[in-house]
Symmetry: C2
Subunit: 259 residues, 2 copies
């Protein structure tokens, strides 16, 4: 199984419109530092899933028929906006798994086009091609699911947007023993406990509680990039800062991270 | 005054995801035939306005502070989606004029960020820098305004999304005598009268009723492109098929169209 982080940014992204901070200026000079909206590609045993659809150019990146399903963590715009044009496609329906949020986003439910919405039962494994997918509730300002993905004995979890973890999800993940996790870490350390997204402190707490071999942080703001550039603290060696294009690949229980 | 049509496509755009028709394949081969979502730039006397914000890369195209205001015709996603990332910018507030649609789109009203929403009074001229702007109600599935723009004696009207024109708007435009109009023409001629967007027949009727010297059709679907490629009918010489990048420039009462 292989997860490619296509979008590692928060809703405003990096560079943020009009911002002149060192992190935003660096991303303007060098496109390797651009952070696009939340999107990840998961491939395993011939099955290809997208988790979240924040990239606005999904239509150009993924040929029609090349995705087996799309998993949505939640219906905030920065996680679904790539679906707005894609839904009008002339192509077979695409299964879209999401929390049963009655609101959805804009008119996606009213005019789903080729999107065939389904809602997984939390903690109940679901088979999508060669992958086993289990939805786990997260803690965010909108109904949100993380997704646990398994092929054979390798296990990855994608956990954003969230601040901390609900107790039932933390207990599930402790028992499930993921090899790698992709985790919300939007903010540098905050004085007040953050309310909708992890800061560095709550992200490290969650990572410790889960005990994964590899942790990729994502949903990164320009403020966190700036804090990382200042380099006052170092992360433990199993924590990696996500970037657009990062690949997390798992062969048996070895988990490698590469650019 | 100068209007640049940045996006001449309907909601699905051209090429449409997964479509193998001759119009969509032509746009894949030759990017000049790509039709992006509804967006126009209007420049006059040093004032720069955007009408609609369907382009998803507004943040990259328009430097912070370079737009005096944004006029929204309505809150369908294909007209507002460029605002989703832009609103989080670190820059002065941007006035956004729109119909007083209580729904808005997704969470734009709840989290406006730098967007400063205002609602113009229909038929009452409004001054935005060097431009005089008058909102006129259109006929669509969502509350929609067209915009009449004037500098000195030159007059342009932007009229999408609409099917036909409400009587009060038609009367206003007949008295106002625009030099040029940009007009919804989404569909080839239909057997049944269309309900939300002009087909070629209702577009020509509206253009005749208004009597402008230059008419640019926009909000074009791949079906209309295909019909145009078949070339069975010709438009009158004052009707021009819009394309992304088309410039409509007005100097006194001469109205020129160029690529
Ligand atoms: Mn988010
Ligand atoms: Mn969110
Ligand atoms: Mn439209
Ligand atoms: Mn519309
Ligand atoms: Zn910044
Ligand atoms: Zn087509």
């Amino acid at each position: 199984m292989r997860l490619t982080l296509l979008g590692s940014g928060n809703a405003g992204g990096v560079p943020l419109y009009g911002c002149r901070c060192a992190a935003c200026e660096r991303a303007r000079r060098d496109p390797r530092f651009i952070r696009r909206p939340a999107t990840a590609l998961v491939e395993g045993g011939g099955t290809r899933l997208l988790i979240d659809a924040g990239l606005v150019d999904l239509v150009a990146r993924f040929e029609a028929g090349s995705l087996n399903a799309i998993l949505l963590t939640h219906f905030h715009v920065d996680h679904v906006q790539g679906l707005f044009p894609l839904r009008w496609g002339q192509v077979e329906a695409v299964p879209v798994w999401s929390p049963p949020d009655p609101e959805g986003c804009a008119d996606l439910y009213k005019h789903p086009g080729i999107l065939d919405f389904h809602h997984p039962e939390p903690f109940v494994p679901l088979t999508i091609g060669a992958l086993t997918v289990t939805a786990v509730p997260l803690r965010h300002s909108k109904m949100t699911y993380g997704y646990c993905l398994q092929t054979g004995s390798t296990k990855l979890a994608y956990l954003t947007d969230t601040v901390g973890l609900p107790p039932a999800t933390r207990d599930f993940l402790q028992g499930w023993h993921p090899d790698g996790i992709v985790l919300d870490c939007c903010h540098p350390p905050q004085e007040e406990p953050p309310r909708n997204h992890n800061d560095v402190c709550t992200a490290l707490e969650s990572a410790d509680a889960i005990g994964a071999n590899r942790v990729i942080i994502t949903h990164i703001s320009h403020e966190l990039d700036l804090w990382l550039m200042e380099g006052k603290e170092e992360f433990p060696s199993h924590i990696h800062v996500g970037h657009d294009g990062l690949v997390l690949s798992a062969i048996r229980r070895d988990m490698g991270v590469s650019a």
